[in-house]
């Protein structure tokens, strides 16, 4: 078995004022080494909740009722917070949905990146500073020497997402969870960011769980795709097969709607 992350039969739900609503009903998800695995589903399908469960940042009202999340031979479900942090935080990174709010507004960009390196790579201050410049260079930020001294509000959305991508790749993680990393960006920047993720992924061999509701985006960069529908993975296929030969009825509908949408958009 060559899976980096193996989610098995995961049940998860939210309790609010003694009312319980299930979100995930027995999800299975296996992410292979060095692959970009797409996770597609409409709003409310439970994509973000699955991501949060893997990252260990579920809101306190949400509980995992059943199932396993296997990572590096350990089950992350039910693991004490501290142990989980020791085991997973270096090796599972995140590219967030909204770059505008995901950097600390009162701290310089360079320090925010440097802190992560000092925590996980055990670099000293000087080495971390040098490494930060290299990382910013890798994500094609012009003039990294200036950017490290800037505050997030001085950078554009695309620049901030590049910084966050640099942060995600900085400690050579085994898995990166990208939760709709391009939805908050405008279309031209979206394409650049997608290319950047794809390029860094193939250079480093990191696995990526790429969450999106946009099949067009998924088609561009994913190797495998899982379709999440009402709390269940209804279909898992290689990206090529999925688009040519969708098996599940929901996937067929989804593809049809998407193609209509693109045709409509193109005639516009």
């Amino acid at each position: 078995m060559n899976a980096v992350l193996d989610v098995q039969n995961l049940y998860l739900g939210v309790s609010q004022k003694r009312h319980y609503s299930p979100i995930l009903n027995g999800v299975n998800l296996e992410i292979q080494r060095s692959q970009i695995h797409g996770l597609v589903g409409e709003s409310g399908a439970g994509k973000s909740m699955l991501a949060k469960a893997i990252l260990g940042i579920l809101p306190s009202s949400t509980t995992i009722d059943k199932g396993y999340i296997h990572f590096k031979g350990n089950d992350l479900v039910g693991m004490p917070r501290y142990e989980r942090r020791q085991l997973a935080s270096r090796h599972i990174a995140m590219i967030p949905q909204d770059p505008m709010t995901s950097l600390n507004p009162v701290r310089r960009v360079g320090n925010q990146l440097g802190d992560v390196l000092r925590l996980h790579m055990k670099l000293n201050r000087t080495l971390a500073q040098e490494r930060v410049l290299e990382l910013l260079n890798d994500v094609q930020i012009r003039d990294p020497k200036r950017v490290v001294h800037q505050y997030p509000f001085e950078l554009s959305g695309g620049m901030r997402q590049r910084v966050l991508i640099a942060m995600a790749f900085s400690c050579k993680p085994e898995l990166i969870i990208a939760d709709e990393p391009t939805t908050a960006l405008d279309v031209t920047v979206q394409r650049q960011i997608l290319q950047l993720i794809k390029q860094l992924q193939s250079e480093t061999g990191t696995s990526v769980l790429f969450i999106s509701h946009d099949l067009g985006v998924i088609a561009k960069i994913c190797d495998h795709v899982s379709i999440l529908h009402t709390g269940n993975v209804v279909e898992m296929q290689s990206a090529v097969n999925l688009f040519q030969n969708p098996r599940h009825e929901y996937t067929q509908n989804l593809l049809e709607i998407t193609s209509h949408y693109y045709r409509f958009e193109n005639t516009d």
Partner: protein, 335 residues
């Protein structure tokens, strides 16, 4: 810190102080109470009274009095105290350091205590420590500083006599300090026994002054910390694997402090005002205590000088707060 900002603020100080001086000057002469009546011995004649009135220039119209006073103030002369027959500037300068030390100690206590309480209440939110913090802040918002002063005197001065209840220093101590900043000077000179008695005298009035402000800081900071802890960058920090205390202090506290710092500027002014009653209660020889005496004696030059002094203290405090606000918040720093 941009220099033009500081310069702009300093220029604005001048009209503020002139405004304050006019209001005080007029108010003091409109309210009932005649300084001459407080001075004269029983059985003085009308002639004696008129003579005194002329001597102090109180027979002239208000505008003329003001202009005379103002032109002297520009030369650094605030006149002579009517009741104490001493130079006003000298009197105030001899008492001001005591008040500054007391106010700074109280601010220090309230900031440290308020911040700690907010951090504790946030770290263990929805658990018993938060309940205790909430109870404590609620109680302290309801109890004014002077009441705490009386409670402390009763508890630690009378029922369980641990601490001295009046003055600034033990009168038996032979003091050979050159400045009026006793605490600072005794520390610099390494005279720790003197320092210790100073602290013993100050601890009750300082805590009494600090408690209401502590409650305001704790409550406001806890509310904004709670809000800050739901932000995306906090979730990012959790994913990155930073410890919970580090996240709270390094990532959240600085963001959450910004609204609290803005608020505490106003609150520090209440604290300065609070020194008047607290110094009276503890017979502490500062300008607050002196103010009450000056008002009772209708000592016009002294009251005017004291109010200008308080106005300067308010302005300086607010300037410091504004500058720290700008340091904390990079977005307004380079305006």
């Amino acid at each position: 810190m941009s220099f033009p900002f500081l310069l702009r603020r300093l220029v604005l100080v001048i009209p503020t102080l002139i405004g304050v001086s006019i209001i005080v000057f007029v108010l003091l002469r409109v309210v009932p109470g005649d300084p001459i009546m407080m001075m004269i011995p029983p059985g003085a004649t009308e002639d004696d009274i008129d003579h005194l009135r002329q001597l102090y220039g109180l027979d002239k119209p208000i505008l003329e009095q003001y202009l005379v006073w103002f032109s002297e103030v520009l030369k650094g002369d605030f006149g002579t105290s009517i009741s104490l027959r001493q130079d006003v500037v000298e009197l105030i300068l001899s008492r001001l350091p005591a008040t500054i030390e007391l106010a700074v100690a109280a601010m220090f206590i309230s900031v440290i205590l308020g911040t700690s309480l907010a951090l504790i209440g946030t770290f263990w939110s929805n658990q018993w420590p938060e309940t205790i913090v909430d109870g404590f802040t609620g109680l302290n918002q309801a109890i004014p500083d002077f009441l705490w002063g009386l409670i402390f005197i009763l508890a630690f001065g009378v029922l369980w006599p641990l601490l001295p209840v009046s003055g600034r220093i033990d009168p038996r101590i032979n003091l050979d300090l050159v400045s009026q900043f006793y605490i600072v000077e005794s520390l610099i000179r390494g005279e720790f026994s003197v320092f210790l008695t100073l602290i013993k005298h100050m601890i009750m009035p300082a805590i009494a002054l600090a408690l209401p402000l502590t409650a305001v800081i704790a409550r406001s900071l806890k509310a904004s910390l709670r809000e800050t802890m739901t932000q995306d960058y906090i979730r990012m920090a959790q994913v990155k694997g930073f410890g919970p205390w580090r996240i709270l202090i390094v990532e959240a506290l600085r963001n959450a402090m910004i609204p609290t710092v803005a608020l505490s500027g106003v609150q520090f002014n209440f604290l300065l005002g609070g020194t008047v009653l607290i110094e009276r209660i503890f017979s502490y020889p500062g300008i607050g205590n002196m103010s009450i005496g000056a008002v009772i004696d209708r000592d016009l030059p002294l009251i005017q000088g004291l109010i200008i002094t308080f106005a300067i203290l308010f302005i300086v405090t607010n300037l410091v707060i504004d500058m720290s606000y700008r340091t904390l918040n990079p977005r307004v720093r380079n305006e």
